[in-house]
């Protein structure tokens, strides 16, 4: 009886939403990409310009904010759907382009194809996403609606069959949901890849009157923003996944733990929760069923270690955010000592898709050991930065060279840093490894939460290792000996090497310390902190040795091991751009009119090299820092 009510209830809700969305499409609809990436690039001004111009011209058009489509390199972006034209997406938007589009496209029916990036629907005039090389590799499950729907209006999600998985869930037994998770082979996407079905089973089988569900959105890796983007672009699919999980394990209360450095994500999630509650999709007697579950946002204060589950729970309980020894596991004794399922943002989003399309469908995607897709933030020295979703098993080479379209400025590829500060640097020869949790760990890196930084010939691997270690050392909670003190000693050794003060014995100590910290630390922050060092020692030992034995930084990045030099043969009397660019007046004019650098004064700021006109290219970096004889 109840079940029919839930489905009916939902059908009515969905019909209303569809009606609303359809009416939106009757006139011109402008969707402005307004996730943090878009806003940082100037989306707010673009949106304001659209609003003003349309009002000014007295046109009839609707403007809404959407999330991130994943093409961060082209932000700000806007999609214009005008009846009679294919929906067109414009990149690199600014106020001028917004004005032009209102005038020409909205006013005069000229879509200004020269500024368009892509069409959203198949047509015979303009290319669509499927014409992009990356489309051949991408497979969007959790990013499917991101960038196309309004994250602050639940009707957009409902109209795209949102919460249909919840209705389906209510018609199933909790055990069936859990077996679907086990059968799907879904592994947690927070970094460690723990089987979701197993975690849920343990939680379900632990008797307790109160159980909790927590969504870990404490994303903290430098250069990673997948979770933020998902929450900013489509928060309801995460909420729906949490509802399904709560139903399966028997929980009535859940929290989304978002770091407060993500104000937009916090706000959008709160709005989404409120709207879901109003529709009867959260709260007591959901869709008039016997199932009750409510959600709350918990704002974390931004400590990296609080992404570790036991530290996260400590911080929620008002204690210091330090990890605890396990067992007992969270699924047995978590928040306030109650059985707690803690999964990542993306994990819950996959749950929604698995219930909708089936465990078998999910298993077909990806690899045997890790079914499904992986979401990466592709950043660093790569042409197309952005958010990509590819099936597990895609190779790093496809990610960097096909989807990312390679290294810009004719530079040579050196490494990918994968898995954030806990990950590793993988060289050219590992690029053909099909990516999944296990293959990456074997290569010395980790999947982590999906940060992928591309490095080129100008990046010094010792300096990169030092950079990531500096991060983990600062973010170490300090509880356990290995992490608190070990990371500091490793950092000191790396600093010495980048200053040219290292010895070969340092490399042995570094290797030993790194292995012991990996084996001996209390939590995964410490256990993975040595990965950048272990992988760079394994794959780029020659760079360490060059620093130590020759006082040379092969990438000419370590300031203590380089000097700036103006090649007289290339310099000209007729130019003095570099002189003006130098902040410390280290550049002087020689008697012959050419320029030279006073090495005593030079602070190695790189300005002269950047400003020297390309027809001269007279400024070079030398390592080891020895002036040539003239």
């Amino acid at each position: 009886m109840k079940i029919a009510t839930a489905a009916e209830h939902y059908a009515g809700m969905k019909a209303k939403a569809e009606q609303k969305i359809n009416s939106l499409q009757e006139k011109t609809l402008i969707r402005v990409g307004a996730a943090t990436c878009g806003l940082a690039a100037g989306a707010q001004k673009v949106k304001d310009t659209f609003v003003e111009e349309i009002k000014h011209k007295g046109l009839d058009a609707e403007i809404i904010e959407v999330g991130c489509m994943g093409h961060c390199y082209a932000e700000p972006m806007a999609i214009i759907s005008k009846p009679g034209f294919p929906a067109l997406c414009y990149g690199h938007m600014d106020e001028g382009l917004a004005k032009l589009l209102v005038e020409e496209f909205l006013g005069n029916d000229d879509p200004c194809y020269e500024y368009a990036l892509v069409a959203l629907e198949p047509n015979d005039i303009f290319p669509t996403f499927s014409d992009f090389p990356r489309d051949a590799y991408e497979k969007k499950i959790i990013l499917e609606h991101c960038g196309f729907i309004d994250p602050e209006d639940i009707d957009h999600y409902l109209a795209r069959e949102g919460y249909a998985s919840l209705v389906k869930t209510l018609q199933m037994k909790p055990e069936e949901i859990i077996s679907a998770m086990v059968d799907s082979g879904l592994r947690g996407r927070g970094g460690a890849g723990f089987p979701v079905g197993k975690k849920w089973t343990i939680c379900r089988n632990t008797p307790s009157e109160i159980k909790y569900i927590i969504c870990n959105a404490d994303e903290g890796d430098p250069g990673a923003f997948m979770d933020r983007s998902v929450l900013e672009s489509n928060p309801h699919q995460v909420i729906e996944g949490m509802l399904i999980c709560a139903y399966a394990v028997g929980a009535t209360k859940g929290y989304i733990y978002v770091r407060n450095e993500y104000p937009l994500a916090v706000q959008r999630v709160k709005t989404a929760i409120e709207q879901a509650r109003k529709k009867g999709l959260l709260g007591s007697a959901i869709l008039d069923s016997t199932f009750s579950f409510d959600l709350e946002v918990f704002e974390g204060s931004g400590a990296f270690v609080c992404g570790e589950e036991s530290a996260l729970i400590n911080s929620m309980e008002g204690k210091m955010g330090v990890p605890q020894a396990r067992p007992p596991y969270m699924a047995v004794s978590g928040f306030w000592g109650r059985p707690t399922v803690l999964n990542n943002v993306k994990t819950f989003a996959y749950v929604t898709a698995i219930i909708k399309k089936g465990a078998g469908w999910f298993r077909e995607i990806g690899t045997e050991a890790t079914p499904g897709t992986a979401v990466f933030t592709l950043v660093g020295k790569v042409a197309n930065t952005g958010l990509v979703e590819v099936p597990m098993g895609t190779t790093l080479r496809q990610l960097v060279f096909d989807i990312g379209e390679g290294i810009p400025n004719d530079k040579e590829f050196k490494a990918v840093q994968i898995g954030g500060p806990s990950g590793g640097c993988l060289p050219e020869e590992t690029l053909d490894i099909p990516i999944d949790f296990d293959s990456l760990e074997k290569a010395g890196a980790i999947m982590g939460s999906g940060g992928l930084v591309v490095l080129d010939e100008d990046d010094c691997m010792v300096a990169i290792a030092r950079y990531f270690l500096e991060f983990t050392q600062q973010e170490s909670c300090g509880k356990c000996t290995f992490c608190r003190l070990g990371t500091k000693h490793m950092l000191d050794i790396l600093t010495r090497i980048t200053q040219g003060k290292g010895s070969l014995a340092d490399l042995d100590i570094l290797q030993e310390l790194a292995e012991d910290i990996k084996m001996g630390s209390l939590c995964n922050l410490g256990k993975t902190a040595p990965n950048p060092i272990l992988t760079t020692l394994r794959y780029f030992r020659d760079e360490y040795e060059a620093h130590i034995l020759e006082g040379r930084c092969p990438a000419r990045m370590c300031k203590d091991l380089i000097l700036y030099y103006i090649v007289p043969e290339k310099c000209t009397k007729l130019c003095n751009v570099c002189v003006g660019s130098c902040p410390v007046e280290a550049i002087y004019t020689r008697e012959d009119g050419l320029k030279a650098i006073d090495q005593e004064k030079c602070v190695k700021c790189d300005n002269c090299l950047k400003t020297c006109p390309p027809e001269h290219n007279a400024v070079i970096k030398l390592s080891p820092p020895v002036l040539p004889e003239e």
Binding site: V322, A325, G478, T481, R484, L485, K488, E512, L513, G520
Partner: protein
């Protein structure tokens, strides 16, 4: 406690109650395992000093004895090349952050670090690492005892007795990373804190960080216990 079980530690058959933590079973049977942070009464061990590593048959990595529950048929080795290496490194790491002036230390000859060094034949000086410099303020405001953070190994025993046993709550951990320390709320001197001067924290300190001043040693308290 659970039912009686039999386990083997270093080829010795030992009877214990199921669920007891391995560290205490070993220590009560006079099998030494290095340890600093472990507190028997604590149900959820801190496991922070990382010194009590042992090998348990069937487990792929060394585990900390303070967190490992014993079970029937368990086979334990307190020493192995991997365990020795971890203990050696953890010990040297602790020494690198500990002022090494044993002859001037109030706990000389009664110090747990010295005991570990003796038991495991480890050097009481740094062989691979440079000492970490840190600025500390010695708190002698109480008169009866002093707190010298440059000797503190952050085991947390003092914090535990203060909060859980005498329930005063004068001290706790604060800051993170290298700055982590035992301190009062607002870093005020102990004499201005709720500290009652009971001296329990001094008694449990395994090193010389908390020590009674000679003139004010409370009656009947054995400092070097």
């Amino acid at each position: 406690m659970g039912k009686k079980i039999t386990l083997t530690i270093d080829d010795r058959q030992i009877t214990a109650s199921a669920g007891e933590k391995l560290l205490w079973v070993a220590l009560e049977n006079e099998i030494y395992i290095p340890h600093l942070c472990a507190i028997k009464e604590e149900t959820r061990p801190a496991a922070s000093c990382r010194l009590c590593f042992v090998e348990v048959e069937g487990l792929s990595r060394p585990v900390t004895a303070c967190t490992q529950a014993v079970y029937e048929g368990m086979v334990v080795k307190t020493r192995s090349p991997r365990v020795d290496r971890l203990v050696k490194t953890a010990f040297e790491l602790l020494l690198s952050d500990h002022r090494l002036e044993c002859n001037k230390c109030p706990k000389n000859r009664a110090c747990e670090l010295q005991k570990i060094a003796k038991e495991r034949k480890l050097k009481l000086r740094l062989t691979r690492l440079q000492p970490l410099e840190k600025e500390v303020t010695v708190d002698d405001s109480m008169g009866s005892f002093i707190f010298d953070p440059s000797l503190c190994v952050l085991c947390g025993r003092c914090v535990w007795v203060d909060q859980q046993e005498v329930k005063v709550g004068a001290i706790g951990f604060s800051r993170r990373g290298l700055q982590r320390k035992v301190t009062t709320i607002g870093d005020i001197p102990l004499a201005e804190s709720p500290c009652t001067g009971c001296g329990r924290c001094v008694e449990v300190c395994p090193v010389g960080a908390l020590s009674f001043t000679n003139q004010a040693k409370p009656e009947g308290v054995a400092v070097n216990s």
